[in-house]
Amino acid sequence: MSHLDPGAATAAPTDARIHAFDHLRALAMLSGVLFHAALAYSPLLHGFWPTADRTQSAWIDAFAWCLHLVRMPLFFAVAGFFTAGLIARRGMGGLLRNRVRRILVPLLVAWPLVHLATSASTRWAVAEVAHPSPFLSMVREWLAMPNPPALPPSTGHLWFLYYLLLFTLLAWVGRTLGWGSGLARAMRMPPQRFALLIPLLVAPGFLLTTTPHPAPESLFPQFWALALYGPFFALGTALHGRIDWLKPLHRWLWPALFACGLAYAIFLWQLSNFDAGDWSRHAPASTALLQALIATWGTLVCLLAGLRWLARPRAWLGYLARSAYWTYLLHLPLLFALQYRMLELELAWPAGLLLSVGLTLAVCLTSYELLVRRTRLRHWVG
């Protein structure tokens, strides 16, 4: 049995194309482990990331920000696709019940646990690590103050669950207010033209935030995040039942990939001129447009590639798809605990990255096997 997105149906997919989206969702989520692990070696994030290592590499920035620009847009596009599927199969009530069970409950349970685990390992690192990251040093200074400032509450890396809930509510709003027909009309547009227009739709989201865009971890909905990920979610919902709409784009796969590469090279060049310490800087329009182009075309490329190469069921991909949700929930506190300990080791960044990702995935997959796969927990996070 293949599981779809967090909150999606647990029913087996009925056609090969769903397998493709299922696998894409898993890869988008699991690439998050790689992304978060890589940030420890990012020169751009060195001053801010809690587990920032002494060794850094510009290659990490080149890799990580590309992943960052595509993986969550892809995730939300796939989530939108499965949301529309759930509405089609079970109706709005079924969708809401499913989202409560598969998103709201896991969010409410995992949130405090993740927060406690991450805080505990950070407190340990602040007290024990001999080679602290700049962030840990800053926390040490804070703690030495008579009235240390408290960090505002945030959703942490579980922000995607919060936004999935928001998008579910917005899907209900859109459906109730009859916006579905507008979306259907938009999909009558030739996909080539749509592909040219959609970066313009996404660009305001990038324009409203800093570059590179952060995770919208605030407890309040962030306009930029809604404007950035909302169109992808809407695209996903519009694609449900119309997957053939993407067909004319298949011959654009390689040119689009090349265009994304070119746009990303220019973006990296722009990024290299940024002051790494100035994270309050909002993107100029040209950078926002470049990011929108990479995010949209990159997502379309991933969808096309998924439909071409990931459409057939494969046991290992199916297993990853089922375990991805649990892995993603669990990975960050584990990764932080590991990387805090690795701050003491003098490892080259490729070894550190490989070790932290490997160990984190090993623990997550083992715990999935032991705690989730054959237990009732699979109904919530399996």
Partner: protein
Amino acid sequence: MTRQLNWPIIRLLMIKDWQLFQKQLAAYLLAGIVSLGFLGMAKPWAFYIGSLLLIILLVAIACFAISTSLLVERKEQTLAFVMSLPVSPLDFTVAKLAGNLLTFAVPFLVMALFTAIIVFSTPLPDGLVVLAALIFGHVLVAYCIALTVAMQVESEGWNVFVMIGSMVLINPFLMVIGQMESVQTVVRGNAVVWHAPVLAILAAQVLTGLACLAFATWSNGRKPAFY
């Protein structure tokens, strides 16, 4: 004499109200997300727009639920159709009360929760929670009074007057509590202190609200006929 409530019918009546409400509620939900988005911008101007929008929304939801489910129904003679169902006046009263309270309580509690989060998670003084609780208490009691009057009075004019009047009274209420020492001293500080006068007002608000609802249930439930 005790009467068995017809829960399947009550449920159906509530579903009917929900189906009538949902378009407007969807619009309110969208406005709620937008206003929370303004608050999330963490800028003074956005805070004022967001909080103002939230209060307007709260008042609008309170008035809208009463207006759609009671006043419009009365005007459009929907009651005549309801009377053709196997439903007693008590069933009808319970359905109306429960449907209305649900429509109001969900956004009310969500907004109260987010208001507390705003206060505690931003540099705003935590003592503002006391003022916020009193304002929410006022909206609650105004809603309960308006709902009770709407269920009792046959006049649409009086209903609208009470609905708007009780909500507009928020201004003099704010002026009065703003001058109370037990509120003034707390709202500017970071300690959340519930002084006795504040607790007394909150208790009075809750008790008044409950008394209104109890009266509405008792008064409508004992009617032998719908009119």
